[in-house]
Amino acid sequence: MEGGGNTTTKGSGLGGLFGAGGAGYSHADLAGVPLTGMSPLSPYLNLDPKYLVQDTDEFILPTGANKTRGRFELAFFTIGGCCMTGAAFGALNGLRLGLKETQNMAWSKPRNVQILNMVTRQGALWANTLGSLALLYSAFGVVIEKTRGAEDDLNTIAAGTLTGMLYKSTGGVRGIARGGIAGLTLTGLYALYNNWEHMKGSIARQSL
C-alpha cells in the first residue's frame, strides 16, 4: 500500500540480481511490498506479498495484557487533560472578558485586579465544568466497557451521549435531548476522526 507504484523498477532490479525472479509473481504483486531498510522482498518467499502489508501496529505483549489500555487506565489522564485544557481556555476567556469589561478604565491597579479576578474565576469555572464532563464520560465509558465486555467506538459514542444527557438532566426533557444530541455529535466526530486512517485504508484496499 505504502510502496505504491514506485517500487516496480527496484523490484525488477532485485529480481534480476537474485536471478530466480519470483516465479509466480508479477511485478504488480511485488510492487505492493514496502521495501524498508535491509530486507527487501526475497524471491524465495513463498507467500502472496499482499499479506505482508501491515496496516496495524504490532507489539509483543505480556500474557494476559490487553492490546490497548482500558478505559480505566486512561480515565485519569482524560480527566486531568480536560481539566487543564479547561483551565487554559477559561483563563484566556477570562482575560478577554476582563479586558472587554474594563475597556474604558485607565490602566491602574483596580483594573488589573479586576482582570485577574476574571481570569481566575473563568479559569476555575471552565476547568471544573470540563473536568466534571470528563469525569462523567469516563465513568460511563468504564461502566459500559465492563458491562459489554467489548471496547470499540460504540462505547465512546454511548458514553458521550449519556454524559450529555446526564449533564443536562436538570433542564427537563428538552434539555436532556439537547445534551444527548450534543454529546452524540461530539463523540461521533471524535470516533470518525479516530477511524479516519483506518477507513481511508479500507477504501484504498478495496480499490486495490
Binding site: N66, E73, F76, G80, C83, N128, A134
Partner: protein, 189 residues
Amino acid sequence: MEEYAREPCPWRIVDDCGGAFTMGAIGGGIFQAIKGFRNSPVGVNHRLRGSLAAVKTRAPQLGGSFAVWGGLFSMIDCSMVRMRGKEDPWNSITSGALTGAILAARNGPVAMVGSAAMGGILLALIEGAGILLTRFASAQFQNGKESSVQQHKAFVVQCLLMYPALLWSKLSPPLISFQVCKKSKQSCT
C-alpha cells in the same frame, strides 16, 4: 484495573491532576449530597432536590481544588525527580510541603509554615505507610513474580489512606485553604 503503573514524568502531572479531580469530585459529591439532603426543607422531594443542587454546584468546585493540589504536587514532584535524578519518598514529602506552602501563600507566612508542615507530615505518613506495606507484602510473597501485584496493592492502599486525609483537609479549611475567601476571613463554605 489489572496493574496500575504510574505514568512517566511529564504525563504524570496530567494523570495526577485527573486522579485528584476524580477523588475530589466523588468525595465532594457524596459529602454534599448528604449535607444538602440534611440542610433542605422537610419533605423527601425538597430534600432530594436540595441534595442535587448542592452536588451540582459544589462537587465540581471541590474537584477543581483537589485538581489544583494534585497538579501542583505532581509538578513539584517531577521537577525534583528531574533535578535530583532519583525518585524516592523525600520527593513526595518535599513536594507535599511545598504544595501546602504555595497554596497557603495568600494567608501569610505563618499559615504557609503550618500548611507546609501539615502537607509534609501527611505525605510522610502516606509514604511511610506505602513503604511498610511494600515490606510487609514482600515478606509474604518471596518470589519476585508478585512484585507488580505488590506495587499495585501498595498504591491502592496509599490512595485509600490519602483520600480521607485530603478530604478532611479540604473540608476543614485551615490546612490547604485555597479558595479566595480573604474577604470574609472566617469560612470558605
